[in-house]
């Protein structure tokens, strides 16, 4: 394993020291491993808390700031944060208007956020509403399973709900917007290589030089199927087709998001964006906004995911609203 680290056990805490040093506009609670806006809590504003396992950077800590999250609770690599961390985040952003938890749909994340919310309820803490993201069409949903994973749409939920909260909307409003974004968004990803979890010390899975994993999540888990490596045009089809099969994206326009898994260079992501854009044009789906880059990653994994979000006027306005975070910034 080749990484820019000291002891694998300290990757997260030492990285947070770097975040604190590089970003005076953020405040890091090193004991609880929570990244806050320096000006949190903002009285009267709904507080937005997200969090999850680390290793997906810039998600979530890179999305803390004006117009997006108020705090991110950082679990160990690929391990959801514990309730104490989420509670510290929740209390730290509680400006009296309630707190929204944005939770990716993984058993661990859901349970730890639930336990934190139960504690907040039991101790008369902030009013908490949770929105769970589950946009990954690779996972067959059914009554008997845990349902789809939360992946790329999480970034869009954090941005759009963040803008709604910044605009002073109520907790139930902000939660409704967040749920709508999740409901209208779908994702699908593929991996060219595995990633290496620092504590594990070797790649999570072995992938022969001519094979890829399709239908992966963001935790280095193997995908739904292993298929031969193919040209980008074909790979784009493997990602876009299941998304278009799952939801009708005809309408005013979509946000098209091509996301890198961490180890794939931008030149390839833009090439993929071109292929995705072509497929959407062919399918009669018009693109209103785009996002290309490494936003929700899986450590050093090579690969990408595609997320489409069906925008309405309100979502579009909130997407365009100013945001000022380490990883997403405009208008400020």
């Amino acid at each position: 394993m080749k990484k820019l680290i000291n002891d694998p056990a300290n990757v997260l805490s030492e990285s947070l020291l770097g975040v604190a040093a590089a970003h005076p506009e953020l405040r890091v609670d090193h004991e609880h491993k929570v990244i806050f806006r320096a000006d949190a809590p903002r009285p009267g504003k709904v507080g937005l808390v997200s969090g999850g396992g680390s290793g997906h950077e810039p998600l979530h800590g890179g999305f803390v700031g004006h117009g997006m999250l108020d705090a991110a609770a950082c679990g160990e690599v690929f391990t959801s944060p514990v309730p104490d961390q989420i509670t510290a985040a929740t209390n730290g952003v509680d400006g009296g208007a309630g707190v929204l938890h944005i939770v990716k749909n993984y058993t661990g994340d859901v349970m730890n956020f639930e336990m934190a919310a139960e504690m907040a309820g039991a101790t008369g803490g902030a009013e908490v509403v949770a929105v769970v993201t589950d946009d990954d069409v690779a996972v067959q949903d059914s009554l008997y399973t845990v349902g789809r994973r939360g992946v790329g749409v999480t970034v869009l939920v954090e941005k759009i709900a963040g803008a709604a909260a910044e605009a002073g909307r109520s907790l139930s409003d902000v939660a409704a917007v967040a749920r709508r974004v999740n409901a209208e968004g779908r994702s699908m990803g593929l991996a060219l290589t595995s990633c290496t979890v620092p504590a594990a010390g070797k790649p999570t899975f072995d992938l022969p030089a001519d094979q890829i994993e399709v239908g992966i999540g963001i935790h280095g888990e193997p995908g739904r199927t292993r298929v031969p490596l193919a040209p980008a045009a074909e790979l784009a089809r493997m990602l876009v087709d299941p998304i278009l099969d799952d939801l009708d994206f005809a309408g005013d326009g979509v946000l098209a998001f091509v996301n890198g898994m961490g180890g794939t260079p931008l030149i390839e992501l833009y090439l993929m964006y071109h292929e995705v854009d072509r497929l959407l044009a062919k399918a009669g789906v018009s693109v209103a906004r785009s996002l290309v880059g490494n936003y929700i990653t899986s450590l050093d994994m090579a690969g990408c995911s595609v997320t489409l979000l069906k925008l309405d006027d309100e979502m579009l306005r909130l997407w365009d609203a100013p945001v000022r975070t380490p990883a997403l910034r405009w208008g400020l």
């Binding site: 396992g53 679990g75 160990e76 391990t79 514990v82 058993t107 661990g108 349970m111 594990a200 739904r224």
Partner: protein
């Protein structure tokens, strides 16, 4: 009778076994999960052993509570809340009693299992820790009901947990990360069932002497 000290030796032994099997657990989790079960659980059980050093262990309930709180507070992921809830529910069931007799211990373990189900909604055959824990509880109850002593009963429970763990191999996962793999989850042993079997085996080893004493 099981006192706080006995519970402490059980859970300390579990911690030792988790440390010894850390790489195995992570390797199993690499195949059908995210390669962290060994690191997660080891972080929690080591923290619990440290906490035992200073915490109250005058009663089984207090030790179990320390264990549960520590796991909830340090493990994260799916296994943190699940194992945490298991021990917290055991603590709740044990109450302030200074000692637990065999049926009381079995009842506490059953309460813990119910907590796991309440938290994670797993059913038999979902390919989770439930598939090792549930047969173990059943075997323990049956053996005690049949008048076996606690040592024998825990040995039978261990065998049942091991069998339950092995039975996860052919299962198609319906809960936890392995469920994302669909058909590809078949043929792999569940990491959580594996750690759960270690927990039961540690009980057999640590408690059978104590209880018959």
């Amino acid at each position: 009778m099981v006192d706080g000290e006995a519970i402490r030796s059980w859970l300390s032994l579990f911690a030792t076994e988790v440390a010894r099997n850390r790489d195995l657990l992570t390797q199993l989790d690499s195949a059908i999960g995210d390669a962290d079960h060994g690191a997660n659980l080891d972080r929690g059980t080591s923290a619990a052993v440290s906490a035992f050093g200073t915490a109250d262990h005058s009663s089984p309930g207090s030790v179990l509570k320390t264990m549960g709180m520590t796991l909830v507070g340090t493990v994260g992921g799916a296994s943190g809340p699940l194992y945490g809830t298991l021990f917290l529910r055991m603590a709740g069931c044990a109450g302030d009693a200074e000692r637990l007799d065999a049926p009381a211990f079995a009842a506490a373990l059953r309460a813990g299992l119910d907590g796991v189900v309440a938290r994670g909604r797993a059913q038999a055959g979902d390919k989770t820790m439930y598939d090792a824990l549930s047969p173990a509880c059943d075997a323990l109850d049956d053996a005690l009901a049949a008048g076996r002593d606690i040592g024998d009963a825990l040995s039978l429970a261990t065998a049942a947990a091991d069998a339950g763990r092995d039975a996860t191999i052919p299962m198609l996962a319906r809960k936890g990360r392995a469920s994302y793999l669909g058909e590809r989850s078949v043929g792999h042993q569940d990491p959580g069932a594996t750690s759960a079997a270690l927990l039961v085996a540690a009980a057999a080893q640590a408690l059978s002497g104590q209880v018959s004493a």
